[in-house]
């Protein structure tokens, strides 16, 4: 029996983008009932882990034009320039508002909000709260959202399906994790803000919850996933755990050094010029891999790494600017950055790709919006600049909320019995999966194999002959994931069932990554194909669209919006 609930707008995901969207809806019209459906309590959302800061023009020596150009260049000219212009214009307003909502930003001596340097940014435009901007942003948004009575939360509800009637989205099916009950939650607009899917890789900064759920929901409903081949490796993760060590370490003056103690970004030509450690992430991750290949890595229990040296910054600066980095290094790798360098290596961090959205955060499906990492509005193109993503959550979360409010004004309720039937069908699917003893495949085994295929096929450096097997292997896993064996038959808080549903999502998302990567025979941004080492604007200046098809993903293309900045060689 499926219970039916009705709201005006549903937001799936309670992180930075989702909460910003919810507040936008509540502020636009407090009479609208806005549901926030999240598989975790909002303050557990992965926005919480962001460290370095959020970008917006703030200083007299900066301009919107400069932020725009930096972002386009960082994107390796795959960013849509209309979207980038809108983003940089909105960014200062959104961050100022976050400040007024109480975010404890770090300050200059005169009491104004301080900004720091970040990779690929010409000047200091990254607003920060020591090194915990994600934590503070998430908690500020969550706490601010609590004053709006029109925001109704469905905490610990896992969305399993989008309800679609007549080509328009009409709601979602959600599994109440607490009770095991299936709910049909209906509304005339749905905003997906579930974040990325880094857990398809084995070595990632992402938390356990980042399984690409929202991407898979939209994909299976027929909406394209765009530019999925572009996966960002952050240069500095802790070996073993993959825990993020923020780029702010370099923004504050930290150095990357090889086993010889050389600042290799200065001593060798990796294309980052005088930016050195403040080059963009794709280039620095490649440089680290090259150093290790050249025999200048440091050997460790979890593979070779390079050193991130902060010792020259002094205890006082580290304590005030980078206290979380100190805590993480001391707790998780037994290193005190005041006195010792931190071992680091490139780690999967962020998906530039996602649900194909436009400047309004809208998708090809009427009523369906997406914002934040789950979306690909083509702000980030082939490589995102650090500190643009939190601002992206705010700018496009707000836009999605506002657009959804406009959209539902002219919308009827949809055919409720059709939607209920769809929900019942999905309830049956989930019921059959729960405690499915007859299966032959183990969740942790499939997840391990999936991780291995992606890591080997779609790493920092890719080759045709590594990507092709990954495509085949993931396709095979798509078959095997339908034969999972589950042991837990309980209804209440059955995390094995959730893990199974997440794994099914991960396989779909992983397949779009591998298939999209294989077809792009050039090197651009984070997609570095060693068989085709150069960018090829002639043939590949397009967005990759990947559509679901029962027979296997189908690839299409979409034009890049240019107009202001002509593509040029990307050299720093």
């Amino acid at each position: 029996m499926v219970e039916v609930f009705r709201h005006d707008i549903i937001i799936v995901g309670g992180g930075g983008a989702g909460l910003r969207a919810a507040i936008a809806v509540a502020e636009a019209d407090p009479s609208l009932s806005c549901a926030v459906v999240s598989k975790v309590y909002p303050m557990r959302s992965h926005t919480v882990s962001a460290e370095g800061g959020a970008a917006a023009v703030a200083r007299d020596d900066d301009s919107l034009e400069m932020h725009g150009y930096d972002t386009v260049k960082g994107s390796d000219f795959l960013g849509d320039q209309d979207v980038i212009k809108y983003f940089v214009e909105q960014a200062p307003k959104e961050l100022s508002q976050l400040e007024r909502w109480g975010c404890p930003f770090s300050r200059n001596e005169d009491g104004t909000v301080a900004t720091r340097a970040f990779g690929g940014m010409t000047t200091k435009r990254t607003w920060y709260a020591a090194d915990k901007i994600g934590f503070h942003m998430l908690h500020t948004l969550f706490q601010t959202s609590m004053q709006h009575e029109s925001i109704v939360r469905y905490d610990e509800h896992f969305v399993t399906k989008l309800l679609v009637d007549g080509g328009q989205v009409r709601g979602v099916v959600a599994l109440d994790i607490r009770t095991g009950n299936i709910k049909a939650i209906l509304a005339n607009a749905v905003i997906i803000t579930t974040g990325g899917g880094g857990k398809v890789f084995p070595f990632t900064t992402n938390g356990m919850i980042k399984t690409g759920d929202g991407m898979a929901l939209a994909y299976r409903a027929g909406v394209a996933l765009k530019d999925m081949e572009f996966v960002q490796y952050h240069p500095t993760g802790l070996p073993g755990t993959g825990i993020l060590i923020t780029e702010a370490t370099r923004g504050e003056g930290g150095h990357l050094k090889n086993s010889e103690g050389e600042r290799f970004l200065v001593d060798y030509d990796y294309g980052v010029g005088t930016k050195a450690e403040l080059g963009p992430r794709d280039m620095i991750s490649r440089a680290i891999v090259q150093e290790i290949r050249a025999g200048r890595g440091v050997k460790g229990a979890y593979g070779e790494y390079v050193n991130l040296d902060l010792t020259h910054l002094g205890a006082e600066k580290l304590n005030s600017r980078l206290p979380f980095v100190l805590e993480l290094a001391r707790t998780y790798i037994g290193v005190d950055p005041v006195h010792q360098p931190i071992p680091v290596r490139p780690v999967v961090h962020y998906m530039m790709g996602g649900i194909d959205t436009d400047i309004t955060a809208g998708t090809s499906m009427p009523g369906l919006y997406a914002a934040g990492e789950v979306a690909c509005g083509s702000l980030n193109g082939a490589n995102r600049l650090g500190s643009n993503s939190l601002t992206e959550c705010l700018v496009f979360g707000a836009r999605a909320g506002e657009e959804a409010v406009r959209f539902i004004a002219g919308s009827d309720g949809g055919n409720e019995s059709v939607l209920q039937d769809q929900a019942s069908e999905d309830a049956d699917r989930i019921e059959q999966l729960r405690g499915r003893q007859k299966g032959g495949e183990k969740i942790s085994q499939i997840r391990r194999e999936l991780n291995k295929s992606l890591e080997e096929g779609c790493g920092v450096y890719r080759q045709q002959e590594s990507m092709a097997p990954a495509v085949a292997e993931v396709a095979a896993l798509r078959g095997r994931v339908s034969d999972l064996k589950l042991e837990d038959e309980s209804r209440v808080f059955n995390t094995e069932l959730i893990a199974a549903l997440e794994l099914i999502n991960m396989v779909d998302v992983a397949e779009t990554v591998a298939v999209s990567a294989l077809q792009r025979k050039e090197s651009r941004g984070a997609h570095t194909c060693e068989d085709f080492p150069h960018r090829d604007d002639q043939n590949y200046l397009y967005h990759t669209l990947c559509y679901f098809d029962p027979a296997g993903p189908r690839i299409d293309k979409k034009d890049v919006t240019l107009g202001t900045w002509e593509p040029e060689e990307r050299k720093y």
Partner: protein
């Protein structure tokens, strides 16, 4: 390097069990593991029916609080090598149990909302909102002003403090350390104008004056928030505010002309 350890884990399925029971698992543990790594290993490889919450594994999402050998711990931050051959894992004390190691958060979420944790009555809000540049659109705050509340803004809502608090264990409705610290955090923020409302809440029964100064909350806090200090400051401010209110709001004498 690995060490063999036995984990005694509390199991409870409300649909089957009247009372919680324990189950034992013996596994090889890597010496650099945190407690959470061991539980995840059991979940993935030994017994997939165990339920527990976790996500970030870097001590910031606040999901993975449990009792480890009888003490509330953030399991992703707690090194396994400081424990013996047998480690007891239980759900956080002072909370109703949902299943296995998962506790009920709804009561806590209600307390959280009760302190109105948002910027209220901001006087300059309207004019700031209209401004488009950072200089005009944001408040100024000195380093000292920031320091007055920053520490209390660091709470990750892991609820270890509720588990450790002797008052919570006797009076489940006690507002509790994290919620009071949060309300106090906003009271101490120069951008906020909601002190009167929150102090009124703090003067109600079951809030700051129920605290017995045990200081357990600050001792177990994995983020150095020091909720006990927040509770003490909040008590003081609530009293001062009340006393000042008496003086200021006393009706003016209505003498004859």
């Amino acid at each position: 390097m690995t060490t063999r350890r036995k984990f005694v884990v509390t199991r409870f399925d409300p649909d089957k069990d009247e009372v919680p029971k324990t189950q034992e698992y013996e596994i090889e543990c890597q010496d650099d593991w945190k407690v959470l790594d061991a539980i995840n290993f059991i979940k993935d490889e030994v017994d997939s029916t165990i339920s527990h919450r976790w996500s970030c594994r870097m001590a910031v999402c606040g999901s993975c609080g449990m009792m480890v050998d009888g003490e509330p711990k953030l399991t992703c931050k707690t090194a396994l090598d400081s424990y013996g051959d047998t480690v007891e894992i239980e759900p956080l004390a002072n909370f109703p149990v949902v299943k296995d190691l998962v506790v009920e958060l709804e009561g806590f979420m209600g307390k959280f909302q009760q302190v109105k944790p948002w910027i209220m009555n901001a006087k300059e809000e309207a004019e700031k909102k209209a401004a488009s540049t950072m200089k005009e659109g944001t408040y100024r705050q000195s380093a000292e002003e920031l320091m007055a509340f920053k520490q209390f803004s660091m709470c990750i809502n892991c609820m270890l403090c509720y588990s450790a608090c002797p008052v919570v264990s006797n009076e489940p409705d006690f507002l509790g350390p994290a919620a009071i610290a949060l309300g106090h955090r906003y009271n101490m923020d120069t951008r906020d104008g909601g002190q009167d409302e929150r102090n009124q809440i703090f003067r109600e029964e079951g809030t700051v004056f129920s605290c017995s100064y045990a200081n357990e909350c600050s001792e177990v806090c994995p983020k150095g928030v020091d909720p006990a200090a927040a509770v003490n400051q909040a008590k003081f401010n609530a009293v001062i505010d009340w006393a000042t209110g008496l003086v200021v709001s006393r009706p003016a004498p209505q003498g004859d002309e």
